[in-house]
């Protein structure tokens, strides 16, 4: 009886899965073309899954082991079941292996069930709640039907009185498991993540993210350039089908674990953004329909608590954001949702499916800004200022060095070559940041660094224009800055602004004229100061007794992986460093990135207030930062009544204050001083 039913069930499930796969692939192919190496991509899947993806999943040990047992057990059990039950080859060890695999899977599914008993808010409910039952049905069903095949159960098992009934029940259980786990994979059930996820790993839009046998993958955090050559082409992403096909595939891979939601600063602040919901909305748009079936946390709404689901709907070729002309009109996503993002990349860092949320958000912003002219808040003004004055504040570009009138900074235009090109950034117009810059200059001079600045030749790096979606202004600024940089000779660029740092280091490369490329390293000042300390070029007075905490700027940490250097500098200063609960790659954004302060989408609370709350929890007297944006955001926070104000210090200010200037000895030859300071630092 079962001998006849099982092969039918297995091959029917596989056939249905194949049909579903074709349908699913056709959904993805609605997107714009994006060439990928098909075979090489597919060949890379095991490594990308086992190394890179697992690296992210393993941050939660219990879930990671659960997934290994369940998914590993399933893959093995399914493969063996096809051989054992589908083809009837139960001889020897195969049947036993199948028993072991399905037992492992069952053990895993028990943990999945435990997880689902009182699930955290970030997990989606709905069909996901039945998943543990389906997993158990499959694993148990396969286990039991395999028992006679290996001869554990007496042969009479399938011949007795109730044999028909038992066989039917077993077949039903196995069919349920097969439905969820095999053709549910391609027809849109919870197991869709396995099918889409594997292909997403194969055809990822940023293959350089993944490690290879040769070494680590790079972070690949720079935004992709928008092609502005064709002046008739619509710009950015207006409809779901304007994404590239592998972006759509990426959205479809979402497993709705809500890790992104748990780390999203905008979501925590009650701004109308939930990265998970956004990705699910893109899936809804790709397939067509409404978001009524979404079962996770909705977008927060400052007025109503939550934005109800079911009000938004979309089609593959319909607009994602309702155009301004249709007032009160709702499409797939509200514009506010897209503008709430601070581009802090916390969601991308946490996503076990390697989905690129920030790319998608910026793609949609590009459409809103470049095609609709609908940058909210002060965004339009900032962009106009960047076009007219090359800085977002609309200040006179001839006054970039006014703050340094007494410092006599060497200009690149005069010296033409220097060891270090000091990129000042737009902080030159901000009185708070001018203090940081003065401190940095003091440190560089104390270390005897040969540096020069561009002065009035410098322009905004284009960071904020690009995150606001104005790719045209960004590219214009980038090309002009590149032309300026090309005139001078220097060994490296140092900047105290992580945003300029990221853009210069990771995003300018695409805009060099043909035949040229950037041939200089770019350093954040914390890295550079750390190099100076390690080389013994800075003499620091030991013994600063202060309890400080360090805030990792998103564009330095998550974007560029620099977590160590600032901490090493603080250690060299001898201060007591206490870490916030969320630091390093899990650092919470200050709310200053991605143009969020200028678009200013209302929420229940402000992101910098939350982060300063994190700082206060550590009972630190000072919070050390390495970014003008973070400084501005944190200094704008009013402490709760009765609380001491926490000082906000840039790392350059900390170092400048600790410089050892006591022995006013005549300038010794550098070698001698090097040896001396090395000792001091090491003691």
């Amino acid at each position: 009886m079962l001998d006849i039913l099982l092969p039918i069930l297995i091959f029917a499930a596989l056939a249905l899965a194949a049909i579903g796969a074709v349908r699913r692939i056709r959904l993805w192919r609605q997107g714009r073309p994006s060439p990928v190496p098909v075979l090489r991509g597919l060949a890379a899947v095991p490594r990308r899954y086992l190394v890179d993806l697992h690296h992210v999943v393993a941050r939660d040990k219990v879930m990671s082991n659960t997934h290994v047992a369940t998914a590993g057990g399933f893959v093995a059990a399914m493969g063996l079941a096809i051989v054992v039950h589908g083809l009837g080859l139960a001889e020897g060890i195969l049947g036993w292996l199948l028993l072991a695999a399905s037992a492992t899977m069952f053990a895993g599914s028990l943990f999945v069930a435990r997880r689902r008993r009182d699930p955290p808010a970030r997990l989606s409910k709905g069909p996901w709640m039945r998943l543990p039952k389906s997993l158990m049905a499959f694993s148990l069903g396969i286990f039991v039907v395999t028992l006679p095949a290996v001869g554990v159960l007496p042969a009479g098992f399938s011949q007795g009185l109730g044999s028909w009934l038992v066989a039917l029940v077993l077949a039903g259980v196995v069919a349920w498991g097969l439905a969820e786990l095999v053709f549910g994979m391609t027809w849109g059930g919870p197991m869709k993540h396995a099918f889409a996820g594997a292909l997403h790993l194969a055809f990822h839009r940023r293959p350089e993210r993944f490690s290879t046998k040769g070494g680590e993958g790079n972070r690949s955090t720079g935004l992709k350039a928008l092609d502005l050559e064709d002046d008739q082409a619509p710009l950015g992403v207006e409809t779901p089908s304007d994404f590239t096909w592998n972006q759509l595939l990426g959205f479809d891979a979402c497993v709705q674990c809500g890790r992104c939601e748990a780390v999203c600063p905008a979501f925590a602040a009650g701004q109308p953004l939930n990265p998970k919901k956004l990705i699910q909305d893109m899936v809804v748009g790709m397939a067509g329909g409404s978001d009524a079936h979404y079962t996770g946390s909705p977008y927060p709404s400052p007025e109503r608590g939550d934005r109800p689901v079911g009000e938004h709907h979309g089609t593959p070729h319909g607009p994602i954001v309702a155009p301004a002309s249709t007032k009160d009109g709702k499409a797939l996503v509200d514009a506010e949702t897209l503008w709430s993002c601070t581009t802090c990349r916390a969601c991308v860092e946490e996503c076990p499916m390697m989905i690129e949320h920030v790319d998608a958000i910026v793609d949609m912003r590009r459409h809103l800004t470049l095609e609709e002219g609908a940058t909210p808040g002060k965004g339009a003004e900032v962009i106009d200022n960047l076009i007219a004055t090359d800085n977002p504040g609309g200040f006179d570009p001839g006054g970039r060095l006014n703050w340094a009138a007494d410092l006599e900074l060497p200009l690149m235009a005069d010296v033409e070559r220097a060891e270090v090109l000091l990129w000042l950034g737009d902080g030159v117009f901000d009185m708070r940041n001018q203090r940081t810059l003065r401190a940095l200059v003091k440190v560089l001079r104390a270390a005897g660094v040969d540096f020069a600045v561009l002065g009035n030749e410098e322009r905004d790096s284009g960071d904020v224009a690009r995150r606001l979606g104005d790719e045209a202004t960004f590219q214009s600024l980038a090309r002009r800055n590149i032309a300026t940089l090309a005139q001078y000779r220097f060994d490296c660029v140092v900047t105290c602004d992580p945003h300029s740092f990221h853009v210069l280091k990771n995003e300018y490369g695409a805009f060099y004229p043909e035949g040229q490329e950037s041939d200089y390293p770019v350093w954040h000042h914390s890295t550079f100061i750390n190099q100076l300390i390690e080389a013994g070029r800075l003499r620091l007075a030991p013994g600063q007794a202060a309890r400080v905490t360090y805030h990792d700027p998103c564009y330095l940490g998550r974007y560029n992986g620099e977590y160590e250097a600032p901490r090493a500098v603080l250690q060299a200063l001898g201060v007591e460093l206490v870490e916030m609960q969320r630091s390093g790659y899990r650092s919470r954004c200050c709310g200053g990135g991605g143009g969020a302060p200028v678009t200013d989408i209302p929420g229940k609370q402000r992101i910098p207030d939350m982060r300063m709350g994190d700082v206060r929890e550590t009972q630190a007297e000072q919070v050390v930062v390495g970014c003008p944006q973070c400084t501005a955001m944190f200094e704008g926070v009013v402490p709760p009544a009765g609380d001491e104000e926490v000082a906000v210090k840039d790392i350059a200010e900390m170092v400048a204050a600790a410089l050892d200037t006591t022995p006013e000895a005549p300038p010794a030859p550098r070698d001698a001083s090097t040896a001396q300071t090395t000792e001091e630092v090491m003691s």
């Binding site: 106009d384 609309g394 200040f395």
Partner: protein, 267 residues
């Protein structure tokens, strides 16, 4: 010229747009007041808005004019004029030919002569009424426009004017919308050659950047916060001025001349 029963649907609006100049960097841009004029036109229901520019066409002026196209237009009519030409006859002829119901323009240009006289000369030439300093167009019904004119200190005056009319806008008009890059670069210029009248006088002029004149300090002698507030909120008063009535033109001119001497405008 216009039929009396010009109804709201099909209200034809022409906005005269010029090339602006950023006050700090001098870069060409959409002129602020003209952009406000375009915004005003876009806010009119059922209006067919046409953009008109008279002037020369080169790379920087084209970029500036595209700023207006980026406000949601597919084309801009361009009367090509050489540099230094008097655009008045060309504009008058073009407006006469297309006979719009409403012509909107800024108070004065940001470059060139910038005298602010063009709307007046145009109105005189066409024989149309002119309303300056508009804050809003409230409605257009039966060939009559209800306009809201901005007066100093936030005051508003409601006017009813029979179409066609030329109106000028200043900073009281709503701020212009963002210019979007995509539509701006896709927009087309519909260039026509208008009559050219060379402005000989202008050609003979020597143009140089204006010297910034020192601001007269407003000295407030106030002992209390209340006095300071009153002083800050007080109406600007002439104080030292004098009203001359029934004087001959010569006497008037002399009085003005004396004043300019006193103020160090003339030396």
């Amino acid at each position: 010229m216009q039929p009396e029963s010009a109804m709201t649907p099909g209200l034809e609006v022409t906005v005269l747009v010029s090339i602006g100049r950023h006050p700090l960097t001098g870069r060409a841009r959409r002129a602020d007041q003209d952009a406000r004029g375009v915004e005003l036109a876009r806010s009119l229901a059922d209006a067919q808005v046409r953009l008109l520019h008279a002037g020369e066409r080169d790379e920087s002026s084209e970029a500036a004019l595209r700023g207006y196209l980026g406000m949601g237009f597919t084309e801009l009519s361009l009367l090509e004029q050489p540099e230094g030409a008097d655009v008045l006859p060309a504009l008058a002829e073009a407006l006469d030919a297309t006979s719009p119901h409403l012509v909107i323009t800024g108070e004065r240009a940001e470059r060139g002569e910038g005298s602010g006289l063009l709307p007046y000369l145009l109105a005189e030439r066409l024989g149309w009424p002119l309303v300056s300093g508009l804050a809003a167009v409230e409605s257009v019904e039966d060939g009559v426009a209800t306009l809201l004119q901005a007066l100093p200190r936030g005051q508003r005056r409601r006017l009813k004017v029979r179409l066609p009319v030329i109106v000028t806008v200043d900073d009281a008009a709503p701020a212009p919308r963002q210019s979007a890059y995509g539509p701006a670069r896709r927009g087309a210029f519909e260039a026509t050659a208008g009559p050219v009248s060379v402005d000989d006088e202008w050609a003979a002029w020597h143009v140089q950047p204006a010297r910034q004149r020192p601001k007269r300090l407003k000295i407030v002698k106030a002992a209390s916060a209340r006095d300071r507030f009153k002083a800050a909120a007080a109406k600007a008063e002439g104080g030292g001025g004098q009203v001359l009535t029934d004087v001959t033109p010569t006497q008037g001119a002399e009085a003005i001349f004396t004043l300019l001497r006193e103020e160090d405008v003339l030396r």
